[in-house]
């Protein structure tokens, strides 16, 4: 489904990701842990094709097709969706006008992510709470029905109760559709609500280790990311 082959990525001339490889099979769910500034968001933005994240070497394949040089729009149309960590504010562009462009972006989708209907006429991101931002990202994912869903820190800025409710809907959505998932997170809360097949730890722009989800999270919560640094040196 998704195959990342030895990519290096620079942002503003500074190398953030170095020689990273990753394989995600159809319907597989991967979670990526990592401390701040380890390159997790850079990976998400690179997969979406955001131009300021420049791939300096390596290749990305999606469903067997190379997409390394493909534009954002083309990737979106192939079925890659990124739920942004910090979606921008766009003045005057209402939730309504954006959702109407998405194929299944009807009003009823808002209920699924527990958004109040008054958000429909509000401007994108303007005056949104942290939780509202994340919910709207998920609502858009549901509307676009992607093949690869990238969740960038969907659990930050959201209270536990909301996270539980949103996750329930994400689970339902994943059950119904053939979606692969890459979720990026700082914390382990997400694991209480969403199941993953594989976990990775990102450190300094590389994958320091990969393996069984519970085992990896247990190590991180016990010994911190310092432990992972050791693995990286190996």
């Amino acid at each position: 489904m998704l195959k990342i082959e030895n990519i290096s990525v620079s942002v503003g001339g500074k190398e953030i990701i170095r020689n990273l490889s990753l394989n995600v099979k159809r319907k597989e769910r991967h979670v990526i842990f990592g401390p701040n500034a380890s390159g997790k968001t850079t990976l998400a933005m690179t997969l979406m094709g955001i131009p300021s994240y420049k791939i300096t070497s390596g290749k990305i394949f999606f469903e067997g097709k190379e997409i390394t040089k493909l534009s954002i729009v083309d990737r979106a149309r192939l079925g890659i969706f990124l739920a942004f960590q910090n979606p921008p504010q766009i003045r005057g562009v209402t939730v309504n006008s954006l959702m109407q462009i998405l194929s299944n972006g009807g009003k009823e989708i808002l209920q699924k992510v527990y958004l109040n209907e008054d958000i429909w006429s509000r401007e994108l991101g303007v005056g949104f709470s942290g939780g509202e931002k994340k919910r709207l990202e998920i609502a858009q994912a549901f509307a676009m029905k992607p093949k690869l869903l990238i969740l960038d820190e969907i659990d930050s800025g959201v209270d536990i109760e909301s996270l539980r409710l949103i996750s329930k809907e994400i689970n339902k959505f994943l059950k119904k559709n053939k979606v692969s998932v890459i979720a990026i997170t700082h914390y382990g809360y997400l694991l209480d609500y969403l199941n993953f097949d594989k976990a990775h730890v990102m450190m300094k722009g590389q994958i320091a280790c990969s393996g069984e989800v519970k085992k990896i999270w247990k190590t991180i919560s016990k010994e911190g990311y310092k432990r992972c640094e050791k693995c990286l040196k190996k």
């Binding site: 534009s71 979106a76 921008p88 766009i90 003045r91 006008s97 462009i101 401007e123």
Partner: protein, 405 residues
């Protein structure tokens, strides 16, 4: 009195305006073929109806309390649908009401520049609209100033009075016929908002690349009065320069300006909003949004003057620059003349933020579609305080103008 006014006008007939390109008035014709009166707006030609609709004129007048239509130099239609409301040509009003001379050039000096001078010396009607004391005119009055003959100078003088305790909404649409490639519109607008009265004035302009436009507008607002000014110009124009000013002379009087500009082609737009907070407790708000495309040049001015204690004003000016050859010059000015006045401003001019574009593109929009969506959002009438009936119309115009490019 009139001789004195004429004498002053003559003295000023060569006086250049402080702002905007200087025009040679001899290039424009003063004579127009008279147009015949019509008994309803639907009698206008199909083309003219379309042009008028594009500037907010409702041909069927269903949601209007009255209409005024001037074709070139002829007033061809007047209709009043509510008691306590008066609509007529200013020439007629001057004959009917001798007291009107006290309002004539009261808010604007006749010798301001050659355009005010020409409006006096070569005046060709304009409208007189008045709401009688205590009358609340529920639906908007509409007025259309239309140039149909090529090369014509239209010199109108409009006077609008909201008597004590009255409320009036006015939509003025100024436009041209399909075959007009050159023309000059001079519009004198004097507004008088009496004690406890409110006027909401919305002006939509739709010109073309060969037309010059010089409105001269001033408003006097008395105690507890409110004046709201909305201005929309989304179509090309050769040059347009105006700097309306509100004098808040009455205690607790208020004014607000909302301006949406879309510069295309080689349009030269110099549009400002000024408020003088003269009386205690007066308030002003100025909001302007300008989008500059192609080789357009936009000057977005704003000027707040605090002349009394407990006066407040805020100015917000935003510009979106969409072409390397376009220019936006935002000039916000704050002038506090006494302590106890509170004036503030925010101004920002820049390109579309890439993060916004990329975000929308990640939702499957092409760059063109995303750009158009952001521009429409920037000019979205929902985000400024336009009258509800007008919002729909402005959105409709915007849909036509801002397409993919």
């Amino acid at each position: 009195m009139f001789e004195e006014v004429k004498r002053k006008a003559k003295e000023a007939d060569k006086r250049k305006a402080e702002l905007g390109p200087d025009l040679d008035l001899k290039e424009f014709s003063l004579k127009a073929k008279p147009s015949a009166k019509i008994s309803k707006l639907s009698e206008l030609s199909k083309e003219d109806k379309k042009s008028a609709s594009n500037v907010g004129i409702e041909i069927k007048e269903r949601k209007r309390s009255g209409s005024f239509f001037q074709m070139d130099h002829s007033v061809i239609y007047e209709n009043v649908k509510q008691d306590g409301l008066e609509i007529m040509s200013t020439a007629e009003a001057l004959k009917k009401y001798p007291w009107l001379k006290n309002y004539w050039w009261k808010a604007i000096p006749v010798d301001s520049d050659k355009y005010t001078a020409q409006a006096e010396l070569e005046q060709t009607h304009g409208y007189f609209i008045r709401a009688l004391p205590g009358v609340k005119v529920k639906l908007p009055v509409q007025a259309c100033l239309f140039i149909s003959q090529n090369g014509l100078a239209q010199n109108v003088h409009n006077i609008v009075i909201a008597e004590e305790g009255s409320e009036l909404q006015l939509i003025t649409g100024c436009t041209i016929g399909l075959h007009v490639s050159k023309g000059l519109h001079i519009g004198i607008n004097e507004f008088f908002v009496k004690k406890n009265a409110t006027i909401t004035f919305s002006m939509i302009h739709s010109w073309d690349k060969g037309v010059d436009v010089r409105p001269r507008t001033a408003i006097i607002v008395e105690e507890n009065g409110t004046f709201i000014n909305n201005y929309i110009c989304f179509k090309p124009v050769k040059s347009l320069q105006m700097y309306p000013v509100t004098y808040c002379v009455g205690k607790n009087s208020k004014t607000s300006y909302h301006t949406l500009l879309y510069g295309v082609g080689k349009s030269y737009l110099d549009v400002g909003s000024k408020a003088e907070l003269i009386a205690e407790g007066s308030r002003a708000e100025i909001i302007s949004r300008a989008v500059a495309m192609d080789e357009s040049q936009i000057f977005a001015r704003g000027h707040l003057i605090g002349k009394n204690k407990d006066t407040k004003g805020h100015l917000e000016c935003q510009g979106l620059l969409l072409s390397e050859k376009a220019k936006i010059h935002a000039i916000p000015e704050l002038e506090g003349k006494v302590s106890g006045c509170e004036l503030s401003h925010e101004a920002a001019v820049g390109k579309i933020k890439e993060e916004e574009l990329w975000y929308l593109m990640s939702r499957g929009l092409t760059e063109e579609e995303a750009t158009s969506m952001i521009i429409k959002g920037f000019l979205n009438p929902e985000t400024i305080d336009l009258p509800p009936l007008l919002k729909y119309q402005v959105k409709k115009i915007m849909e036509k103008v801002v397409k993919g490019f």
